[in-house]
């Protein structure tokens, strides 16, 4: 396999397969990831091919999964754990924040914690409560963690490879409503640096920054805006911690306007951090305040309301219009 069109979920599956083949220290852990292949089938077939010792069905205890993954990492393994849904990560939050993130520093650099935590996140699939959330800011706020999210199959494959090779703990957020979107994967290319942003559409009037599931929405918004004669640049952030501020700055200093889009609530979200930093860096280049489009300061709504809740093309364009009106 060199270049192939794959659904995003399958690209992750291929990436995990590659990692299992290349490094005997890589082990997968999670609930239902073995025989079932995970509730989204992301790990489909891997236990069959690599055995129960390397693709481990765990008891239903997220803290237990992450806590034992830390122990395995201390023994020299590279665990890749799956949290079944975004809203289920919180029993493990203590282990992630108080243990996983800090252990390297506490040992003065002597121990490394190459643990990847895969979390399907975001809404848009009509799920019940706790299955549609975007908690990335809660992890990005913690020093010692790296937080990333692919928006397409190519990144899904490569960013996971890079995450597994990283000696730091990485939270890998998978945009679950894009699991079935197909795009090209080249398994023989040289990938971009893990924490670099990428310009996915060039434009001159305004910069849209998004990541994960919202990149597609922003590309649609840019296409619609083009019909109205507005030229929007779209940046796929890819990494929420650290953030490639240089790339955003370069784009903003070209366009003069910035709108940040994410599903996560706007309050204390990635958009707030980007707005603050870019205001500081590019104050005299900005033609208008940095605007944010995202979730509300309210629990994720029941599925019948999520279409209204989630930032769609119109909400993005509304922010674009407000920015351009300055």
């Amino acid at each position: 396999m060199a270049v192939q069109k794959l659904p995003l979920a399958k690209a992750i599956n291929e990436s995990l397969r590659t990692a299992l083949e290349n490094d005997p220290k890589v082990v997968l852990m999670g609930e239902d990831i073995g025989k079932l292949g995970g509730v989204f089938r992301v790990t489909d077939g891997l236990q069959k091919d690599f055995g129960e010792d390397r693709v481990i069905d765990t008891p239903l205890a997220e803290s237990g999964i992450v806590g034992t993954a830390i122990g395995l990492a201390l023994r020299g393994y590279r665990p890749v754990v799956e949290i079944q849904f975004d809203g289920f990560v919180f029993p493990a939050y203590d282990q992630i924040v108080t243990q996983l993130a800090k252990m390297h520093a506490r040992s003065l650099g002597k121990v490394k914690l190459p643990v990847v935590i895969r979390i399907p996140y975001g809404g848009g699939i009509g799920a019940v409560e706790h299955h549609s959330e975007s908690p990335e800011a809660l992890f990005a706020h913690v020093a010692g963690l790296k937080v990333i999210s692919p928006s397409n199959s190519q990144d899904a494959y490569w960013m996971l490879q890079q995450a597994i090779q990283s000696d730091d703990p990485v939270i890998y957020f998978e945009p679950k409503r894009r699991y079935w979107d197909k795009s090209e994967v080249d398994t023989e290319t040289i990938p971009a640096p893990l924490h670099s942003a990428r310009t996915v559409r060039e434009g001159s009037d305004l910069t849209l920054v998004a990541y994960g599931p919202m990149v597609k929405v922003c590309l649609e918004a840019a296409a619609a805006a083009e019909e109205e004669g507005k030229s929007l640049e779209v940046l796929d952030l890819r990494s929420m911690s650290p953030i490639d501020f240089d790339a955003i700055q370069a784009s903003v200093e070209k366009t003069g306007r910035l709108v940040v889009v994410h599903e996560a609530p706007v309050f204390y979200g990635a958009g707030a951090e980007i707005a603050a930093r870019i205001t500081e860096r590019s104050f005299y280049h900005l033609e208008s305040p940095v605007l944010r489009v995202g979730g509300f300061h309210a629990p994720y709504p029941p599925a019948r309301l999520e279409e209204e809740y989630l930032p769609g093309l119109d909400r993005v364009l509304d922010a674009v219009d407000r920015s351009l009106a300055y």
Binding site: T68, G71, T98, H104, A105, S107, L108, K112, D168
Partner: protein
Amino acid sequence: MTVESTAARTPRRTSGGKRAASSKAGTKTAKTAAAKPAKAGAAEPELVQLLTPEGQRVEHPDYSIDLSADELRGLYKDMVLTRQFDAEAIALQRQGELGLWPSLLGQEAAQIGSGRATREDDYVFPTYREHGVAWCRGVEPKKLLGMFRGVNNGGWDPNTNNFHLYTIVIGSQALHATGYAMGVTKDGADSAVVAYFGDGASSQGDVMEGFNFAAVYNAPVVFFCQNNQWAISESNEKQFRVPLFQRAQGFGFPGVRVDGNDVLAVLAVTRAALDRARRGEGPMLIEAFTYRMGAHTTSDDPTKYRRDEEREAWEAKDPILRLRTYLLAEGMADEAFFADLEKESEDFGKQVREAVRSMPDPDMMAIFENVYADGSALVDEERAQFAAYQASFADAGHGEGK
């Protein structure tokens, strides 16, 4: 007054004779029973004991031990030096040299007995009170003091002595130990892992999850609980309803209660549990029944929540005293040995004091060190900004003509 002399002093009369007469393993005295709320008529379960509080060697049907005089003196010495170290640390905290110290006073046998049971290739996951275990593992004593002085948050390489960093969040390490043990099994090694925790941690979900994962994966881990009777101010009665060691049964592995102040019994039981783990027979829970003679930490005030009588009753069960009695009775140590040890202990104390006082504050840029193994653009940026900010003062100094 030295630690040696503390250990050697005669038990107070209030807790002496009667206690001795009824000291069969696990029997409650009227005094200790009265000090605690009655537990619905439940008698305290038997505990494994090989050396009584009076220093009498007794046998146990399931656990035995045969140590040379040299080995026994070695255990004695370990306990005395550990107690000396602890006393020095408390004093250093009182002098402002340490910010905090969690004392292990009274738990020397539990820690030395279990620590000495481990093999070099075994791995230990401590709480923050395992100074005696650290001693057995060969961790340099002053390294334990760095985090309590505030010069680092851990500061030793866990892989040097297979002794993990102290874990302050209660119970988290039970899972790390279990995961590490799962890795041992994967490697096909016959090492074992020990997870230390206390009675307080037994209420934490992570400890229960550790039990369950260890059982499910048959991991070679020994869960070593020092039940020192108090989780800061909360007695056992406020924490659980079933004796801790009995919990193991519900998870599918054996549990045993051992006299945590009997270094021989702790050594024998821990050895057996580690051997069992090495043979691939899975985890085991040891509840070392002991007592926190001091405060939870130097910030704590036990007079707010417990009675002196309870502590006095436990003083009669002192782990060091009983081994001293036994060594003397059996002619395995003479006064010269104790005198030499007292001198060694004093010298050791002096070294500890000097090591702490000469411990330098870290460079301020250490804030940014080792946040990430692979580095981080964000940390780099903030480090550079902070360095520039600090440098601006130097410039200001020049401006004023310094």
